[in-house]
Symmetry: C2
Subunit: 434 residues, 2 copies
């Protein structure tokens, strides 16, 4: 078997075999296939596509290219929840405690973020003392004891995907449904859960901009996960404006706490309840998603979700008092308001623009080596459809550097559009794929 | 400008600008664009193509990536003749002397061969003393004095093409008309002639297997050459069986001498006269190709072509007595006949198979470093359409190594097909593109 023939075969639109896909991924991982041949194959795949079965084979090969986590020592059905990434998405921090409070073990492996804000691991590190680096045994005993734990994703998960993604990123071969699916799912399958709940974001702040594209990606991921023997559900949800009212690291953790106190924004609260309901259902703690919904709603109202969050923070070495005293979080020294230039109704809040402003405030990373300012970010006062009066505060920027806050301001101000006519609020929840 | 955007643009089927193509070739030449981005672009070009104007721009950029030869010190209109490569094609050795005898200056730059036999330079080196390495001034004075000289192609001609071709060869991106055209024409335009006569081979022994493909390539090359300001003509000729009766290095030189003595095979003689006629026409030594034909026919019959060949050999330090004594050529110590297994008519002689047998006899190179056996090769006794009697010699192999001659024999024997019904001789001359 040789790489030239594999490139030629795909170039001619033929279907690759398991042996060929395994050969490619194994030898590419070992550095035995040069990048120029890999990128030629990727471009041929861009044009000729992958069948779902080829995508499954590629996903499986990439999964096996790194460590595959064994969660069998955790009692119960492990359910993972994964978002394809959006601006202001802090649902994991709410959904995890609610599901765990219903008895679903949540063993969350999470990466550091590249882009608009940090990842879940970065966000949680804004809590003093919180750590995410554990030995496997410690992590598993934490999940068994608390019901919920988060571990930083190691470099050894789906290593071939990491290498391949870096190559796709510089050769204009990212946007191919089979490649996107296998990249996400290889990491999910390697992280050892029994069931996976996907939240596919859709809109200009997301990777998939249209409902059609997001639905297609959701279907592919569900199908690949099922072929791999996992129980799968995917949501398609709106990302045309940021989720909730905060974008940043500490800011989002505070909003998650507020939501667990049942004092959060409607959109975040409703989406978190729906996601948690499906986790409880997938984890066999409820007979239906509806029953799951009742259960998690009860945990929200009773404060059991917030209490689970505190246990979770304490379990990972963090100070649980943050839920009572937000001054324990890192504080930004500078703030700047964005004011409405006219009266009317918020027509749009461009999620991508707000995300970019957040990044430039210091809350996100452009390069892997960049240090995060965990206190920086944006607090929105308005959402799409809200009425606004000229001079009213639309949003407030937080940062620690004059130049950064100015850049963030200059970007963010372009993200708001106001209409003189009333505007309908966008539907957050768009689709479910079973 | 950056390479990612160029890949993306071509992937989306857009037309690249002169600035983008220049950027790619200049920076790729300097090693500032990684191979993996270049190969992704090549695969995108494979799928989305290049327009003729993009192809011209690419050709021109690649021409400028190396030395551009200045032949202005040679008096008269310099005409180059180039074959896309076939099995047994020794026409340059016949056409050059005939055209030069008519007063057309021929300054031939030629490479060493990779494949079935050596290149023109390799073949001529089978003449004792013949050398092809000259300083530019020496080469030019040789052409001015003799009317004909051959120089080995330096590594500095169209260097970007060399690097790009090596990449195409291992990434399944060779067969794209724009890339093929620019690869050939960048070298032709860099070698400084005023007019170019192309012989596009067509059939299973050639790069272009069908008449349609060969015609298309001819048209593209003619158009690109004209856009670059050159006078252009392309022939499309048959390569479904080897040209002439010999395949090898010394063997082909001897056949060329025989042809210049007007004792060569009909196909070689006829094609050489036609090519030479057009060279004389392109070199403005005849008012029409027909007049050119009469002139070169006269040079053949009078022996002036053979005499020019002898001057040419002597000019390059070779022994001109080889035209009178073939024992001066390197001799093979072993020979082996291929006999007809049945009586009938030769239905086909697979040019690719015979070429491969020649290579394995030692006459060709698989890798650049391989040493040639200049005496090795194949002499055909029959051509397609000839009648044959069971036990008659179809061909004779020549080599100096028992294992090699056996391998060559095992390959060559599969190349002949005999039919019980009479077979029409294939038309050698298929098309002319002006």
């Amino acid at each position: 078997m040789n790489m030239y023939d594999i490139i030629l075969k795909k170039r001619e639109g033929e279907i690759l075999s398991k042996e060929e896909i395994d050969f490619f991924i194994e030898d590419f991982s070992k550095g035995q296939i040069p990048d120029y041949q890999a990128s030629a194959l990727l471009m041929a795949i861009f044009f000729k596509g992958l069948t779902k079965y080829e995508t499954f084979l590629l996903t499986d090969a990439m999964k096996r290219s790194g460590d595959v986590i064994d969660l069998s020592k955790i009692a119960g059905i492990k359910v993972d929840k994964h978002s394809t990434g959006g601006v202001g998405d802090k649902t994991t921090l709410i959904v995890g405690p609610l599901a765990a409070a219903c008895g679903v073990p949540v063993a969350k492996m999470s990466g550091r973020g590249l882009g608009f804000t940090g990842g879940t691991v970065d966000k949680m590190e804004s809590i003093p003392g919180f750590r995410t680096s554990f030995e496997a045994a410690e992590f598993i005993s934490l999940v068994n004891r608390v019901g919920l734990a988060v571990i930083g994703q190691t470099a050894h998960i789906a290593t071939a995907d990491k290498k391949l993604y870096a190559l796709r990123d510089v050769t204009a071969t990212v946007d191919s449904i089979g490649l996107i699916t296998s990249s996400i799912m290889s990491k999910k399958l390697a992280s050892g859960s029994d069931a996976i709940l996907l939240d596919v974001k859709c809109g200009n702040g997301a990777f998939m901009e249209t409902l059609e594209e997001a639905t297609e990606l959701g279907k592919w991921m569900v199908d690949i996960g099922k072929t791999a023997g996992k129980n799968m559900v995917a949501f398609v949800t709106d990302m045309s404006q940021p989720l909730g009212l905060t974008v940043g690291n500490a800011l989002e953790v505070i909003e998650a706490i507020e939501t667990l106190k049942n004092e959060g924004p409607t959109d975040i609260t409703e989406l978190s309840l729906k996601l948690a309901a499906y986790m409880v259902f997938l984890g066999h703690r409820a007979k239906s998603p509806e029953e799951g919904y009742e259960m998690v709603l009860d945990k929200l109202h009773s404060g059991a979700g917030l209490e689970k969050f505190r246990e979770f923070v304490e379990g990972q070495g963090g100070n649980p008092e943050v839920t009572k005293d937000y001054a324990l979080f890192p504080q930004a020294s500078l703030s700047k308001h964005i004011l409405a230039l006219e009266s009317g109704f918020i027509k749009s809040i461009d999620a991508r623009v707000i995300g970019s402003a957040s990044l430039h405030s210091g809350a996100g990373r452009e390069k892997k080596e960049d240090l995060l300012d965990l206190s920086a970010g944006i607090i929105l006062n308005k959402k799409v459809g809200d009425s606004v009066v000229k001079g009213e505060v639309l949003a407030t920027l937080a940062a620690n550097d004059q130049a950064k806050i100015q850049t963030a301001y200059d970007i963010a101000i372009t993200g708001f559009a106001i209409s003189s006519e009333s505007v309908e609020k966008p539907m957050l929840f768009k689709k479910i794929i079973l």
